[in-house]
Symmetry: C2
Subunit: 426 residues, 2 copies
């Protein structure tokens, strides 16, 4: 029985679950090596026996599923008892337990932009209010399966608050490495969940490198995005929920905000799996949207070379000078027939306001970059506006009150008498 | 055809939908009159033809429903075409539109407190992150049905941010009357949705009275809680979702944070309707939890008399010196066989921490008052601890970052070198 296996994105070597998981590898044991301020070389991917699984997980099966209940297809997650399952400290995950960590049934909404309607995948009502929960729940389940009690992650804020919240739910200890300029609401959210915050004087890339070193030293299970293969696995669930939420009527374009490149990579992988399973024939073109202050993927796709530049953008969740999942993300964009484009912070802020005011969905700046990308791509004629577009709203605006404060002035307060005069007195 | 009718809680006079809705009454046309800093006299209730409805909405029907999809039983909401439906400016509400404003399928979680397990109704992932969305969606639908384009409400913060968000979704104008000490995150949330904020130099009670006067003058549809009968109607949906979420296995006690008393009244009304429909035989005992700084209901239930005292509590969402729904709330507690009890702000804060850290659900102080109430009731022997208890978590902690800041200190930031020395260097 080979329920799932790992393989290296770069050298293509295959590994069994026990080789990777029991020995606590994250990158390819042969060619992987994390380097300071660089995309990861030797990231591992997980594959399943799609020929077997397609008998069970076919198109009618997915069309019957409710969105968000991702554990209803347990064999598509790397949680099935692997070949080392009989050895301690391996712990069995009960399906009942899985069902208790479902995501809410994500709603797909719409927004009217000029004369066109765009679909929204709204992730702002997830358990900790961002897309990251899709990865964090899978990582927490794996930590428990491996008998580990502490999880560690570097983050600009969302991944950390997500991991802290999910760890609280699972009774795990959480260590979070975040840059000191983390938005205050996200910091407070982490602290409220009881997470151990390690505030780093430096940027996300510094926190990333540092956390790897110390997690390993301390024996904490590492959830760094892209580094831990389960992060992309968890994030592939977005593709399944898009298929389910749209009852199979997929969009032609999906606009995805890109920082480290794991969300876009995950969504691409999810669609590939749906294709392997015979559920869909073609998948949507994925369009990577970056802030012009954090555009490493765009530069890489133009030049074929990675060059490190410190990132600076109001959209903290997609601020990454060295996107760790760069190679797979670029591949995802290319293979899907999409492209990458950058938007200014000013456009991101404008789109954020548009979404908040037109849909009643409160998004953070990074979550609105996707709409800014759609508007730009449309105005530049890079997409066919009459084809179906969807954008991802990846995190809640309540997590970054400071960015709202830049947009909105606190109104003056008046005494009742003044109001009465103003409205009634005339 | 009499799809639903209104009747006065105090003088029991019945009114048709057209008498109340077309003439824009909120309180009983015969005996209702809002008074400054006083509970409302002449609040209107809505009743349906339960004898007819029970043929359709029976126990097996509710057991088949998914939680949160409250429009699947459309005849239990005062939105069915009433007798005046042919007259303009009445607008038809399409069922399709209703389905687009579903609440997320509320999850029922558990928390372990000492040796007992308590169920949680988690409302922190609603569209605008609080229980109030249940009322606001119904109010917005009614505004649209009446052909109105602006809605107005007084609020300590949650009702206003909820109404602003839901109005954004429906393309309605929102006017929000809030005390100037409103938590900053809630203020920013309202502004982000494009709501018109009227900041009042005074407390919630002042904002309440003022908003009534000015809404009427301006012709805005008023959503003031308890004043607009649809607020309690919307909030009754919590009872249906509790029944559905627990597959009919209702708790013996439900602890509800009480400010104006509309949530507890709504839940009571929901359970009464389930009883009228023959879905349940008995309903849970409802236990009203108030902060000792805002305990008007408790004093009223002890003395039989209402006395106005300005409210002051960290739990802003249940801060109300003059609970507008006082009489119905007291009735709900009494009729259900429950009781009211008060908890200190310090206990609320302790419970907030407990919930955040043990469940990964971020709650605001008011949302945690219910747990503080459970702990106190148990320690004082007021409930049988072996019977089933449930608590309501009414709003997200992200909406009140300031209260988290009082709990958690920002940690010091260190340079990478320092971390490395600390953990690795030895």
């Amino acid at each position: 029985v080979k329920p799932y296996y790992y393989h290296c994105f770069n050298c293509h070597t295959q590994f069994s679950a026990s080789e990777i998981e029991q020995d606590r590898h994250y990158l390819c044991p042969k060619c992987g090596k994390p380097e300071k301020n660089k995309p990861l070389h030797g990231a591992l991917l997980i594959s399943f026996d799609y020929q077997q699984l397609k008998k069970r997980y076919n198109r009618p099966f997915f069309l019957k599923q409710p969105a968000g209940q991702i554990w209803r297809y347990p064999l598509l997650w790397p949680l099935q008892p692997p070949e080392y399952a009989k050895d301690p400290p391996f712990q069995k995950i009960e399906w009942k337990e899985l069902f208790s960590v479902d995501l809410p049934a994500t709603k797909i909404h719409e927004i009217r932009v000029d004369t066109h309607t765009v679909k929204l995948l709204d992730e702002t009502n997830n358990p900790t209010y961002s897309y990251k929960d899709r990865a964090s729940t899978l990582v927490a389940l794996k930590a428990r399966q491996l008998g580990l009690t502490a999880v560690s992650t570097a983050s600009t804020g969302n991944a950390a608050s997500s991991m802290a919240g999910i760890c609280a739910r699972f009774g795990l200890e959480a260590h979070l490495w975040v840059p000191e300029n983390i938005p205050e609401a996200k910091l407070m959210q982490i602290l409220a969940y009881g997470g151990q915050v390690h505030l780093v004087r430096g940027d996300y890339d510094t926190a990333f490198d540092l956390s790897l070193e110390i997690s390993q030293r301390m024996g904490w299970y590492n959830r760094n995005t892209a580094y831990n293969p389960l992060t992309m696995e968890g994030k592939k669930s977005g593709a399944f929920d898009i298929f389910i939420g749209l009852r199979g009527d997929l969009p032609d374009y999906i606009f995805v905000p890109v920082g480290d490149g794991v969300v876009i990579g995950g969504i691409y992988k999810g669609f590939c799996e749906l294709q392997h399973l015979g559920v869909i024939e073609d998948y949507p073109k994925l369009i990577a949207v970056q802030s012009s202050g954090s555009n490493a993927l765009i530069r890489f796709m133009q030049t074929g070379k990675f060059e490190y530049l410190p990132a600076e953008t109001i959209a903290d969740s997609i601020s990454a000078g060295a996107p760790r999942n760069l190679y797979f993300a670029a591949n995802s964009v290319r293979e899907s027939g999409g492209f990458a484009l950058e938007v200014d912070d000013a456009d991101i802020v404008k789109s954020q306001k548009l979404i908040n005011e037109r849909t009643g969905i409160l998004v953070e700046p990074a979550g609105a970059a996707s709409l800014a990308g759609y508007i730009k791509a449309k105005s530049e004629g890079k997409i066919d506006p009459d084809k179906k577009s969807m954008i991802l709203l990846t995190g809640s605006g309540l997590k970054d009150i400071d960015s709202l404060k830049r947009l909105h002035r606190r109104p003056d307060a008046f005494r009742a008498e003044v109001w009465q005069e103003r409205y009634v007195g005339e």
